[in-house]
């Protein structure tokens, strides 16, 4: 049989066996994702039930002690994470909606350019951006320097190494992730509907509340999810900008692994975080199911 015939035989065979075709195409992905994303999470959950040895090793003895330890100390950190992530999402939403709205409605020919400009920085290194932020806002940074030089203030305003600084940097980092889905949603709005609302006597503010926002619900939810969920587990920003004083879940977890060698406890905290996040994703997924993120084309 020559190559052509063999190929046809093979394709014929595949055509009959749809499942096999699917398997073949999907297998690398499934293997990789399953092996290196899914299984590690299981391993981590396993470790959360293990005991920490006296010298920081892992003893394979089942225990629930780690979960008992998720006591009021960690609840404080947990609450802080939710609070900061929530505030970040809120401010990103307010700012993001305004910007996305303006670009979508008034951007004109340069719409794409504007969105591009907003998003580009988020493609460069996060560490560098955080560093640049610190450089600007530190006590010895440019802003404080200029303010002091012009005698507006006597001593530097501490905008770093505290919660305010961390919040500011979080907003700065996550804004593009909020703007993008919002913009996508607003840009698809039917302009005539907006005009009609005005013609019917609504004030711009009312229109915003009662028409624009409800119509862009999908984008809002996407933006919120894309901001809130990763923000809860943010590690670098509270570490570098918070000076290890503002402890969020991410830092707590990393500490357990890198500082204290208490892997079982660290795993327990991570598992708890994971469960919360999975719940949130689940809620989002259910609501997305109607609009179908992954549509199926009948072939």
């Amino acid at each position: 049989m020559n190559y052509l015939e063999r190929k046809h035989r093979f394709l014929f065979f595949l055509r009959r066996h749809q499942p096999l075709k699917i398997c073949l195409i999907l297998s690398p992905s499934v293997i990789w994702v399953f092996l290196f994303s899914f299984i590690p999470l299981l391993i981590m959950i396993y470790h959360s039930f293990m005991t920490k040895g006296p010298l920081g090793q892992v003893l394979h003895i089942f225990t629930l002690a780690n979960y008992e330890k998720l006591s009021f100390l960690y609840l404080g950190v947990f609450w802080r994470s939710i609070r900061l992530a929530g505030m970040t999402t809120f401010f990103c939403f307010i700012i993001g909606y305004a910007v996305a709205y303006w670009i979508a409605i008034y951007g004109g020919r340069w719409k794409n350019l504007f969105i591009f400009l907003i998003v580009i920085p988020s493609w460069s290194s996060l560490l560098v951006r955080i560093y640049a932020w610190l450089f600007l806002f530190r006590d010895s940074g440019i802003i404080n320097y200029l303010l002091m030089q012009s005698s507006l203030i006597d001593s530097p305003i501490p905008m770093t190494f505290n919660e305010v600084g961390v919040l500011g940097c979080l907003i700065y980092t996550y804004l593009p992730f909020m703007i993008l889905p919002l913009y996508a949603s607003i840009a698809r709005l039917d302009q005539s509907v907006l005009e009609a609302a005005l013609d019917l006597g609504a004030s711009p503010f009312n229109r915003l509340l009662k028409v624009t926002i409800p119509l862009t619900k999908g984008g809002i939810i996407s933006g919120v999810i894309l901001t809130f969920i990763p923000a809860i587990g943010e590690y670098i920003i509270p570490d570098l900008v918070g000076g290890a004083k503002v402890t969020m879940m991410g830092n707590l977890i990393a500490d357990k692994f890198l500082s204290f060698r208490n892997w079982p406890l660290g795993s327990a905290i991570t598992t708890a975080l994971l469960i919360i996040i999975l719940l949130l994703i689940f809620v989002y997924a259910k609501s997305e199911k109607q609009s179908g993120l992954f549509e199926v084309q009948e072939s």
């Binding site: 010298l55 090793q57 960690y74 010895s140 000076g243 290890a244 500082s259 208490n262």
Partner: protein
């Protein structure tokens, strides 16, 4: 007749000079046992080293690589705990790792270290007597001392005038007590140093096992927290003068003082934590001979002196003493006074409940 006599008496001289010439060419590797060098060649001439950042002279590695033709992969860590995490997690592929007195004990107990072959370390004779056969590693079975230092704190004299706690004899009170420097204090992100400081200040031993003592330390650290600008990154903050006081390793303080002479190191009168860093070989290494080669090289007087001078920490090498910089030798930061040394202590290797207690204290301090 005369000539033959001359030749006769010249012969031993010639022989001697030949021997001298030959041995001088071998001198460079003369302190390395030949069987060690053989084994090194068989091991592939590579070495993975794991050390503190900025803890070796810049030319040490290139010179080592040049002399022995060994390719060194040199990685650094910024915290002992991070090192322990990597090593405990399965070695991380390193052959030689540096660990201080405390962590050497952990590693020995965890059976992560390989016993040393002293026959391959003839330069061990250079080690100072007081560091030979230490209590944390009897007989130097697993470790070779490298440098030692202390963990006190530095203060910027430009901003700390008239502080009674920073007069001729300084005290931990300056950095731990009171609101004088609110928002201008930096603490290293190390529970060992911080808890030790609080314990010394309260008059207790840093190695105490008493829960009551530790609770007092926790109180002090918690009360101090609102005045602390940041935990970690202290060098940066000191240089930028965003903090006026900060806990710091002794050697690092010399570098900081060099760049800003207003900053001085305090070896507190209550005592401070001391640490002695050692080179160790991880068990299961594929290159034990090369690892020994590295250690023996670092024990050479000149090499040890060079390293000590570059990083400004105190040497453990007797033969290196003559080559130590005058400025370091006279610097109380590097070589503290007898009085302070008496009060200072090396850290014990905490485990089990003691370790958990201390970890919890640090967590509480940082998380609140």
């Amino acid at each position: 007749m005369c000539s033959s006599r001359k030749i006769m008496s010249a012969a031993p001289l010639i022989a001697l000079s030949i021997v001298l010439i030959l041995s001088s060419t071998l001198f460079a590797a003369g302190d390395m046992p030949p069987d060690l060098l053989e084994k090194v060649a068989k091991e592939g001439k590579k070495l993975n080293v794991y050390n503190w950042g900025y803890y070796i002279a810049e030319d040490t590695i290139p010179k080592f690589e040049q002399e022995f033709g060994v390719k060194v992969t040199y990685d650094t860590f910024e915290s002992a705990d991070a090192m322990m995490a990597k090593v405990q997690a399965g070695g991380g592929g390193y052959d030689v790792v540096i660990a201080d007195n405390e962590y050497v004990q952990y590693l020995i107990r965890l059976k992560k270290l390989q016993p040393l072959n002293h026959k391959w370390l003839p330069n061990m004779k250079n080690i100072m007597d007081k560091f030979v056969n230490p209590s944390y590693d009897p007989g130097n079975t697993y470790s070779i001392p490298y440098l030692w230092g202390s963990a006190g704190f530095v203060y910027n004299t430009k901003y700390t005038k008239d502080d009674p706690n920073l007069s001729d004899t300084c005290s931990w009170a300056a950095i731990l007590q009171g609101d004088k420097y609110a928002g201008k204090i930096g603490m290293m992100d190390s529970w060992g140093v911080s808890i030790a400081a609080a314990l010394f200040y309260s008059g207790y031993s840093m190695n105490t096992h008493e829960k009551a003592h530790l609770m007092k330390a926790q109180e002090i650290l918690l009360a101090q927290k609102k005045n602390v600008k940041a935990y970690g990154e202290v060098r940066k903050l000191l240089e930028a003068e965003e903090v006026y006081l900060a806990t710091l390793w002794s050697g690092d303080s010399v570098g900081v003082s060099e760049r800003n002479p207003a900053i001085k190191y305090c070896a507190p009168k209550e005592g401070m934590m001391l640490y002695l860093d050692n080179w160790t070989i991880l068990k299961g290494t594929e290159r034990p001979a090369t690892a020994h080669l590295w250690m023996n090289y670092l024990l050479r007087a000149k090499v040890a002196a060079n390293n000590a001078n570059y990083v400004h920490f105190a040497t453990t090498n007797q033969a290196a003493l003559p080559d130590i910089d005058e400025s370091d030798r006279n610097n109380p930061a590097v070589y503290p006074s007898e009085a302070v040394m008496k009060r200072s202590e090396f850290s014990e290797a905490f485990d089990g409940e003691q370790l958990t207690l201390r970890e919890e204290i640090w967590e509480i301090v940082k998380a609140r």
